[in-house]
Symmetry: C2
Subunit: 415 residues, 2 copies
Amino acid sequence: MTELERMGASAKVAERTLAVASTKKKNEALQSIHAALLKNKKRILEANAIDIEEAEKSGAKKAFLDRLLLTETRIDGIAAGVMDVLALPDPIGEVISMSNSPSGMTIGKKRVPLGVIGIIYESRPNVTVDAAILCLKSGNTCILRGGKEAISSNSVLVDIMREALKEAGLPEDCVCLVRDTSRDSAKELMGLRGYIDVLIPRGGAGLIKTVVENAGVPVIETGSGNCHIYVDDSADLEMAANIVENAKCSRPSVCNAMETLLVSDAVSDKFLPLVLPQLKKHDVELRCDEKALKILGNAAVPADETDWKTEYGDYILAVKTVSGIDEAMEHIARYSSGHSEAIVTNDYAKAQRFLNEVDAAAVYVNASTRFTDGGEFGLGAEIGISTQKMHARGPMGLRELTSCKYVIYGSGQIR
Amino acid sequence: MTELERMGASAKVAERTLAVASTKKKNEALQSIHAALLKNKKRILEANAIDIEEAEKSGAKKAFLDRLLLTETRIDGIAAGVMDVLALPDPIGEVISMSNSPSGMTIGKKRVPLGVIGIIYESRPNVTVDAAILCLKSGNTCILRGGKEAISSNSVLVDIMREALKEAGLPEDCVCLVRDTSRDSAKELMGLRGYIDVLIPRGGAGLIKTVVENAGVPVIETGSGNCHIYVDDSADLEMAANIVENAKCSRPSVCNAMETLLVSDAVSDKFLPLVLPQLKKHDVELRCDEKALKILGNAAVPADETDWKTEYGDYILAVKTVSGIDEAMEHIARYSSGHSEAIVTNDYAKAQRFLNEVDAAAVYVNASTRFTDGGEFGLGAEIGISTQKMHARGPMGLRELTSCKYVIYGSGQIR
């Protein structure tokens, strides 16, 4: 047995206890984690300082350092998140259906945990706690594998959570951390069949791709977002401009930000000059097709095929004029990553067509794509946004971390 | 573009039409397929005769030939299955939830097709039609890849379905068949990212394993069944004997048949001699641990570690005595494939513990594991029995072939 297999086996054993733990017990553990995080602030900050120092030494960029950094306020925020999850209803045990079978058995379908969840993520140490507590509340044990840059912070955070679990009377192994941050350990984790029920990668497109290509266990893909907004000729153009500005500029690094603007030929002459100052206010670079380029002139640069495919995650916007909703939907069908897509229109039939025909986790009429989020969708918290169609689609909350089981009450039935 | 990529692209285009096709349209296509199967019996039988002849030449076993064989009656059965699926409610379009968001948008969650489903299966040509019509009714296009032994039958069945689809006004590419039955084509299909939304392997453990290990697209594992029955000391022993006989002998080749009998030490002296004649009536070979062997004497042979792991699919039963429910559940946790598990008991607390603590798709008290089946569970029809916890668990009917999508009705909201 390798070290990781031993960890998998321990997680499986812990899961048998956690799967049947009462809501009260799980909430006590969350309460205990909340208290422990606040009590151990100093210890966390010291560990984080080591990661920050290492990162600085290796010449990491400012944005990267910011993602890695923990402060007193950030630890308060992480701890507050624990109480938010504590307050959410426990999804486990819900009876989804129950009925009598023709042969007289009672067949119920019940919500149960997924089991052991592997989570592979990058540099933000807050994910360590966020992911662990969502798993805990939904009765799943987790094996966390964070980035090597955050290993010192992650180790201490997991130590603290394990101590708190023990104190609350749940097995420490409900939360496990892979402390070997080599590529090999990640690869081995992806293939840990028989121990891991589901693997959730959280991070950039490169990480997701590696996991999907190498995993030997079921994976939920999250977070890739090449999102479009189509401005129809019947749109309220002022509304459209505000939505476009918001979807591109309110937080360009996130997955629900817009990457390509599609504009109906019929209104491009009017709309593009209208939206331009709102985008230029944020120094957005515009990469345009020929017609849009003609309209925007020096304010834009030419786009090529690559631009339609790219999730910039930055103040860059691709712009394409289209003959109407059909060409817009063709473009979306071809380039969308299936995350969030929006139309701005006042035409009832086109709104309905867009909602029905566009294939994405979230499809909007007259609203910004930025709303695709667990909190906004009423899930309370989210572990990621699924861009696959299997198991869960869109923001994944506690319920998306569950499976089901048939329970059958018989009285001697044979078939 | 390879031939398979071209097929994937065509299936994706067809899916855009099928995903929004009305229930009426889909039912007309099913009606048309039903009629075409009956009208083309001769053509189907001729094609099947070629497969049978080839298989005989290559020295195939009787059981294999039987699985491959089509007869007039079997075609009638396949056609009747089409009408059964036609009669089922259309899962697509169901609004799972709808509510207003804090910002005043209406957010609905709607049932939509998974998209393009790849199905890799073995020699039974009836799967070709069964799988295609379940996909069709649930709005999914399918890419079928059957075994090379059935290629002549499968080709004609798919030709007939495609002609019928065309006649009904739906794209032929709603049902595609990979006619190249080399290993390479299967491998390529498993990696067809961007075209296939979900891959469902149907067949033996070897096939499932190959698909899981090689797939680059999401997979739903089906059908592996190492099922146990635990006879508790409080069991009605006659009931237990009937359940054991039924679970082992009514159809040993299927995945919900029992493979290992666990008996409480307290009743093994009484129970094993009681059930013995019922098993011997079917010539069941008994592979026993030491204590059971002592009780059964010459009627049994010794078991080893391999027996606890094996899905015999045959008239062979592993038998193990255990000290009680805890040891029984330990054994199940270790060796179960997570398909169907049963306890026979009259003890309320033990029944509840077994239902709660055993981790399998279907957990029974006082009934045969043989009931794990889409028809028995009220799903109408099934495309397979999922033994994974992600997406679907247990028998998969039409609803398990769907995903969901958030549809958001805004009025200019920005975040």
